[in-house]
Symmetry: C2
């Protein structure tokens, strides 16, 4: 007799977890996710037309399940779920269906995400049943073929972990004196690229199991232009001021060399070509859309935004006494710096719609 | 076109919410739910045989959804879910099915329940997909016919609110100088009984929608013997020491009269007869079992148990400065008091299995 195994959890527990800052204080993701919201808003019409053109919804469907993978604490996820439900409703109306399915929304993020604040802020006029799903999206989270739309916005650039060789002084991929791979030796970028490929492989395999035939997966994520090297990644400019604060603190002997050498941001932004190859290798999805988000200028993260996104991972690695100092230095690093423009050669956002092959 | 309305949430938001104490500190439910666990453990064989005898599970079932309504923060809910899955697995084996369904467990409690601690303690070797469901079980929580087993242990004695007339000095049901209905005028017990009937009506109506045909609802809850008055309720002796502390504090003019007059514990323990009538009135369920749990002696709640269960509701009503004093007095009230025995004339626990009529 086959048993329903422990649902991929062994895999998940080997990983690290770096949730956005919880609560609703000044450093919380709830209060510091304006830029992600603006990017998702710019994609609304692409999302609506993508659903209208590609979604298969049957007249007889009584339930319709949507999952937001890496939803964090809101409010961005609530806006996105409303947009998706609006588009599915529109599709049902166009088809002339006499009734709508009952919508279920599954809000997923790491176990350490602040689900209490997510639940406390659920819109009271929501038109769906709401569920929280704790766990890493690098493993399985749902029963087979149980989801109709999988959505993930600005979460899939988080790797399950930084490649381990980056911190190994004996490896050619050792990332000495840096926390990221911009301007790093080729081997460092390669190590990041390989980790990303491995993570996407397990991500796509899990989602292929969970998405019902005819269902859609909609992904918004940072990406870089085709034909560029990993080291020319689109996230580099946003991480540079933080790295610069840390290297200053190394120069001033506040942080020891080995502390910065062993810290690496587990983030990656693929090129479209790189992503296309990984999707094709998986083989379970057809690519309905793979394009760039409308170009927009993006400000460097404010100190609050930086803390909201990276506070958790920095506190985990560095001694707590240096964290306050770090963020005290940060505002001077970004003062007067202009926003990053798409025309600077960085593709800020990718928009992907995948269809589960029937 | 019919729209999927806002899923009964207007109703739910009118209610009050009194979650068990969260976190994992000394006053937490996680650390103070031993008695509830013992009662559920004593019911394990009834639960297993009840599932084996009554559950309809098809060979073709690929998914099997279980909900625990009023699950609090664990660990009791994890033990119960394992017991249920073990029994369903046993039933599948007896039937000779070649594969098991994929299990989903939906953990439900009020929005203000500590889901973060619930998720952090999810067993790593669990054989199910885990979801959190924030909201009151007095309203709808799930899509139609989406659940195979609904379980609720020691949660359904919580009313959606204390009857409002209890605090109204102009009502014959005004509950002056008491926080509960033991030894109260007939009208007070009646008001509680009516509120319970109203709450069970909405509870059963919601569950009738959500339970799949052939599915089971398993309820453990406090109850009193048939032929007794509401005022002879089984919870009275457990609340008496707390009431006694509060009335002492009124006598000493630490608490004002109106503060205690307007506070009433929103708890009720029905007789089997009373519960049977409400189930029959609803009409969607057949009663497979309605019996008492194995008799056991139950200690009066320790100060930690009392805080874990009632800390939230007391803090909501009384000035915070009296709460510490109240719990300082409490241990003296219970010192040397013997446990409540079933033979004292109180039926401590009811065990109910309902089958959704096909």
């Amino acid at each position: 007799m086959a048993t329903s195994e422990s649902c991929g959890r062994e895999e998940k527990e080997m990983e690290e977890s770096f949730p956005m800052t919880g609560g609703d204080g000044p450093h919380s993701y709830t209060k510091n996710s304006r830029q992600q919201r603006a990017a998702a808003a710019s994609a609304k019409s692409m999302l609506t037309s993508g659903i209208l053109e590609n979604l298969v919804v049957e007249h007889s469907s009584k339930m319709f399940a949507i999952a937001d993978l890496g939803c964090s604490t809101g409010p961005n996820t609530f806006i996105a779920m409303d947009n998706i439900i609006e588009a599915v409703t529109q599709k049902c109306k166009i088809k002339g269906y006499s009734s709508l399915p009952e919508f279920q929304v599954y809000f997923n993020d790491h176990v350490s995400n602040d689900f209490n604040i997510l639940f406390a802020n659920l819109p009271s006029d929501r038109k769906y049943f709401a569920f929280g799903v704790p766990g890493s999206f690098h493993g399985g989270l749902f029963p087979k073929a149980s989801l109709n739309i999988i959505y993930s916005a600005f979460a899939l650039h988080w790797l399950s972990r930084a490649p381990q060789e980056l911190g190994d002084v004996n490896s050619p991929a050792c990332n000495k004196g840096r926390i990221y791979y911009s301007n790093a030796p080729h081997e460092v970028g390669q190590a990041y690229s390989l980790q990303y490929a491995k993570d996407m492989e397990s991500f796509l395999a899990a989602r292929a199991e969970e998405l019902a035939p005819g269902g859609l997966m909609i992904i918004l994520m940072p990406g870089r232009p085709d034909g560029t090297l990993p080291s020319q990644n689109s996230l580099g400019p946003f991480i540079k001021p933080l790295e610069s604060c840390l290297t200053d603190m190394v120069d001033e002997e506040i942080i020891r060399n080995h502390e910065i050498d062993s810290f690496n941001m587990p983030l990656y932004s693929p090129s479209m070509e790189e992503l296309r190859k990984l999707i094709e290798k998986n083989g379970c999805f057809g690519i309905a859309r793979l394009e760039t988000l409308p170009p927009m200028s993006v400000s460097l993260p404010s100190v609050e935004e930086c803390r909201s996104g990276f506070g958790s991972i920095l506190r985990k690695h560095f001694r707590s006494e240096i964290i306050e100092q770090l963020f005290e230095r940060y505002p001077a690093k970004i003062a007067g710096k202009p926003p990053i423009k798409a025309s600077d050669g960085f593709t800020i956002g990718l928009f992907v719609i995948l269809k589960r092959n029937v």
